[in-house]
């Protein structure tokens, strides 16, 4: 009898990455590598590439965010809120890409045991949400301010200043300060991420609860219709854009300021010219006020050091403001009305509510809806404070340390520090401060670190050219783990498609599938954007195709006709913003940016979650 072939992805222990990536293992901590000692367990899990948080190859120091979320997300599920059937999400690195797996459910008796804790803890948080949210925000902002206050020595002085010695020696000096500063930053990053998941898992639970009730009452209701009832405005996430609108209006009201903002000169020159007039200085003062925290919004997903934030890439917010001022000149309205968005959502909810016949059902709907709406505040707001504000503060601090390495000739560029993982940076720091402490005429091991940084840059560049395999190991017959589906958009169908798609030639594909995240059907020209910087190439009425969008991209949505992303379910940023703007969107396609080319004519069907490539660009 013929042996039935089991559809599976390669065994992670035997999988070979391209030879250009040789040496990639050294870039990451050893516990991130698939290893024989726990081979049995690793083999029995299903690993898929985490395209939502790290679609790109992982710079070694940026792994810290993932190290911290692996622990935090998992512990809240297993040990804190004890979600009965769920376990943690485990991570591994393969060829510079991160693979994750939702650990298989625990034994029956553990599920029962967890239920008691779950009931008591989760429902308490649901009930006391408002006060808990206030506490959370205070706590988190305090941590961010503390991180911003961590002092990085600007130099290693030839002789320590007098006041650190007399009248009484301080006892510790720049060498220790630097060692301590990095350690403190690392601890704070871990703490920040421990806070991050405090309520996030619960928002998904609240969503599941509401979705369950909605599906019982309206058996055929789509995920996107449920999403429309739940999603509101990311209040904090839209603040950066609101601030830009406010500043643009202000600029428009001072003719001279408006003229400068609209001019085609570099930002530095604009600022220099603005500071020459009184109105200009008044405007700059307002800009300064808005900067912290609102310009700490990241230009990318918030997961990669090279994406930058508005605050350190001012050309981006200034280009937005230029177009806003121009639109104001034409008499257009630039603000989006958050109230309008909420009003529209409330109308949708009211229409569904009207269809419920009995008071009992109305009450169930009402209760579940109230809970999900209250709790969603967290899902909507935490993103700005953690992935944007907090990460930007971290990168600024790390760059201050990088500057020291450059100053003393250990590394060529400030950002080379990101080529070393968080266990290696202390080694570099130790080498530097030892060199300083030993006295004059001591050689630094600069070449070694510079070469290492260079080699790793090369590996990352090679990894960027490689299309990583979507998954490893044996796929489950059915993917039902709610976070996997909701957050990563991994469904049973998706896995089946990956299995089929291994041999697909991107140029031959004519149709791709994803989530029907925002309804409507349009046809237009595709513009593939890998990085936010590329938005300058975007034309009015283009269809944006990107790995995954984030709030810094919000102004883009006023220009485009539809959005298509590789990553993200129905509550992803692109999905929510598209619904708010009434644009069709298909998210979580997995392959859009590799299959679609700029200039292709595509038809986005946001009702069915399908993108058809109508005509290939020449």
């Amino acid at each position: 009898m013929a042996k039935e072939k089991v559809a599976r992805f390669p065994d992670p222990h035997e999988f070979k990455v391209p030879k250009e990536l040789a040496g990639w293992e050294e870039m990451y901590p050893s516990h991130y590598i698939f290893a024989k000692e726990r081979g049995e367990w690793e083999k029995s899990q299903f690993w898929y590439q985490d395209k939502i948080h790290d679609p790109e190859p992982m710079p070694p120091l940026d792994l810290i965010f993932h190290e911290s979320w692996q622990i935090s997300l998992s512990q809240y599920t297993t040990r804190v809120f004890c979600i009965p059937p769920a376990q943690g999400i485990a991570q591994r690195m393969v060829g510079c890409y991160m693979y994750i797996c939702a650990v298989a459910p625990p034994p029956e008796e553990i599920i029962k045991e967890k239920a008691g804790y779950f009931q008591k803890r989760v429902f308490y948080v649901f009930e006391h949400y408002d006060e808990l949210w206030e506490k959370w925000l205070n706590k988190f902002q305090k941590l961010g301010r503390e991180m911003a206050a961590v002092k990085i020595p600007e130099e290693l002085p030839k002789y320590v200043p007098e006041e650190q010695v007399l009248p009484a020696p301080r006892g510790y000096y720049a060498s220790y300060e630097l060692i301590e500063a990095f350690n403190t930053l690392v601890s704070m990053m871990f703490k920040g991420w421990q806070y991050h998941f405090e309520m996030l898992n619960l928002t998904y639970l609240a969503y599941l609860m509401f979705a369950d009730v909605a599906r019982k009452l309206f058996p055929g209701i789509s995920e996107s219709a449920i999403g429309k009832m739940v999603a509101g405005a990311y209040v904090s996430m839209f603040r950066p854009e609101e601030e830009l609108c406010r500043l643009s209006r202000l600029a428009g009201s001072f003719p001279e300021v408006g003229k400068i903002i609209k001019s085609d000169v570099p930002v530095e020159q604009k600022i220099a010219e603005l500071s020459k007039t009184e109105d200009g200085r008044r405007w700059l003062a307002e800009l300064e006020k808005a900067k912290n925290p609102w310009f700490y919004v990241n230009c990318g997903s918030g997961w990669f050091y090279y994406e930058g934030s508005w605050v350190n890439k001012p050309a981006i917010p200034f280009s937005y403001m230029k177009s806003y001022v121009e639109r104001l000149d034409k008499g257009e309205k630039i603000e989006r009305s958050l109230e309008e968005i909420s009003k529209k959502r409330d109308e949708i909810v009211a229409e569904y509510r009207k269809l419920i016949k009995t008071p009992e059902d109305q009450k169930s709907f009402e209760d579940a809806y109230k809970t999900v709406r209250t709790i969603y505040r967290y899902a909507e707001d935490h993103l700005f404070w953690v992935e944007h504000w907090f990460h930007t503060i971290w990168w600024d601090k790390i760059r201050d340390i990088g500057k020291l390495f450059v100053k003393y000739g250990m590394l060529k560029k400030v950002d080379d520090i990101f080529m070393f993982n968080r266990f290696e940076v202390p080694e570099l720091i130790e080498e530097l401060v030892t060199w300083w402490a030993l006295g004059e005429g001591i050689p630094l091991r600069s070449r070694y670190y510079m070469d290492k940084a260079e080699k790793r840059q090369r590996i990352l560049a090679a990894a960027r050219k490689w299309s990583p395999i979507p998954a490893l190991g044996i796929p489950p017959k059915e993917v039902a783990e709610p976070f996997t589906v909701m957050l990563w958009g991994i469904t049973t169908d998706k896995v089946a498609e990956w299995l089929k798609g291994a041999a697909v030639v991107p140029e031959k594909v004519t149709e791709i599938k994803g989530f029907a995240s925002s309804s409507g059907v349009v046809e237009g020209t595709a513009r593939v954007l890998k990085l936010l910087e590329e938005i300058t190439t975007l034309k009015e009425g283009d269809i944006m195709v990107c790995p995954c969008s984030n709030p810094a991209w919000a102004p883009v949505f006023t220009k485009i006709k539809a959005a298509v992303t590789d990553i993200g379910g129905l509550t992803s940023h692109a999905a929510i913003v598209s619904r708010e703007y009434g644009l069709p969107a298909v998210t979580g396609t997995g392959v859009a940016t590799s299959v679609i080319r700029t200039g292709d004519t595509v038809r986005v069907d946001g009702d069915r979650g399908i993108v058809i490539i109508v005509k290939r660009a020449r």
Binding site: E108, F118, D361, D367, E478, A480, S519, D607
Partner: protein, 356 residues
């Protein structure tokens, strides 16, 4: 006494005079729904006709003797009664009223012999509690006054088909109480047509409109002679959740040579094409919602999309009646006594299906 009434003059209060179908057309016109123009031949016409023509007593005497269980008796009585009705002379004032109204309709449409659909509209038919649907005849594509009048008469006769007689006897519905009105309505020259429900008839989901449609006249869908395209649309967010495009090999069309509506083959390349586009689907859903809202209960609607006119003027509602199956059922709470928390806990205790 009115022998005919324009659809624009009738509403639900006119039901005893014009029957359910016609009253509902009038209601829809009032609600601003696009309905093909036409008029109703009232129950007074029918009553007056059987009285004046001197056949009333004969008819009910024959019917009184029918044995509903005996096919021969049913068939015999039916044939006898229908013959009486079809051969009787229509009083001249009734005939004049129909002639005038049909003339007005032709003038209005600017067509000399405007093709019309002639449908019976019984007073007991299609009521939520007594589904008499489909028990009377419908005549499509009738042109010219004499033909119209002859078909009106046939509609009256169709009140006494063997099935209708037996149905009434079995449901203890007196024959004398069932009155009939006839609707004369401009024929929509439809590219596609079909039915739609303002809830999902499969599971009772009230948030959906389910549309079934096929090429040509709606009769192909209504009679079940073709598997229609099916669209399930969320009536609130207007998303098309399901679309099933079926091979629609047959369509009902008017054959000018034969002067009648025929079943014709559909060209192979057209069979698997959707019979309507997304804008038309969404417009139908919007109409369905308006009709449901107007009546305050779920509806079963017949629609047609005209060949010649442009969107959205090409979309017509030709009939609407209350949905009877789910409307009577959904009185019990669906979720039951459990709170959302309890439901969540229940869900959380169900091990995740994570099969390998």
């Amino acid at each position: 006494m009115k022998y005919t009434l324009n659809f624009e003059e009738v509403n639900k209060a006119s039901l005893p005079m014009v029957g359910g179908k016609n009253a509902s057309l009038g209601e829809m016109i009032r609600a601003g729904i696009r309905v093909p123009p036409g008029f109703a031949v009232t129950t007074d016409s029918y009553l007056n006709f059987i009285a004046e023509a001197g056949i009333k007593d004969k008819v009910f005497k024959i019917l009184a003797k029918v044995d509903a269980e005996d096919v021969t008796s049913l068939d015999g009585a039916s044939a006898e009664v229908q013959k009486l009705i079809n051969e009787a002379l229509i009083p001249s004032d009734i005939e004049k009223a129909i002639r005038e109204d049909y003339g007005c309709l032709c003038d209005k449409c600017g067509v000399e012999r405007m093709p019309v659909a002639i449908r019976s509209s019984a007073t007991a038919e299609d009521l939520p509690t007594a589904s008499f649907a489909g028990q009377q005849d419908t005549y499509l594509w009738i042109e010219g006054t004499d033909n119209v009048i002859r078909r009106v008469q046939q509609c009256w006769a169709s009140l006494f088909t063997p099935r209708a007689i037996s149905y009434r006897i079995k449901n203890s519905f007196p024959h004398e109480k069932v009155l009939i009105s006839v609707g004369v309505q401009k024929m929509v020259n439809s590219r596609a047509a079909g039915v739609m429900f303002t809830l999902n008839p499969v599971n009772g989901d009230p948030s959906k409109v389910v549309i079934e449609g096929s090429w040509g006249l709606g009769e192909a869908v209504v009679s079940g002679s073709v598997t229609p395209d099916k669209f399930v649309v969320d009536k609130i967010v207007l998303e098309i959740n399901e679309r099933t495009i079926s091979p629609k090999n047959i369509q009902c069309v008017y054959d000018p040579e034969r002067g009648e509506v025929v079943h014709a083959d559909v060209a192979l390349e057209t069979q698997t094409k959707p019979c309507m586009d997304d804008d038309e689907i969404k417009e139908l859903v919007t109409i369905a919602k308006r009709i449901e809202e107007h009546y305050g209960c779920p509806q079963d609607i017949e629609w047609a999309i005209d060949k010649g006119l442009s969107f959205p003027e090409n979309i017509f509602t030709v009939q609407s009646r209350p949905e009877t199956v789910w409307s009577q059922r959904r009185k019990e709470p669906i979720i039951g006594k459990k709170s959302p928390y309890e439901l969540l806990l229940e869900k959380a205790l169900t091990p995740i299906k994570y099969k390998f």
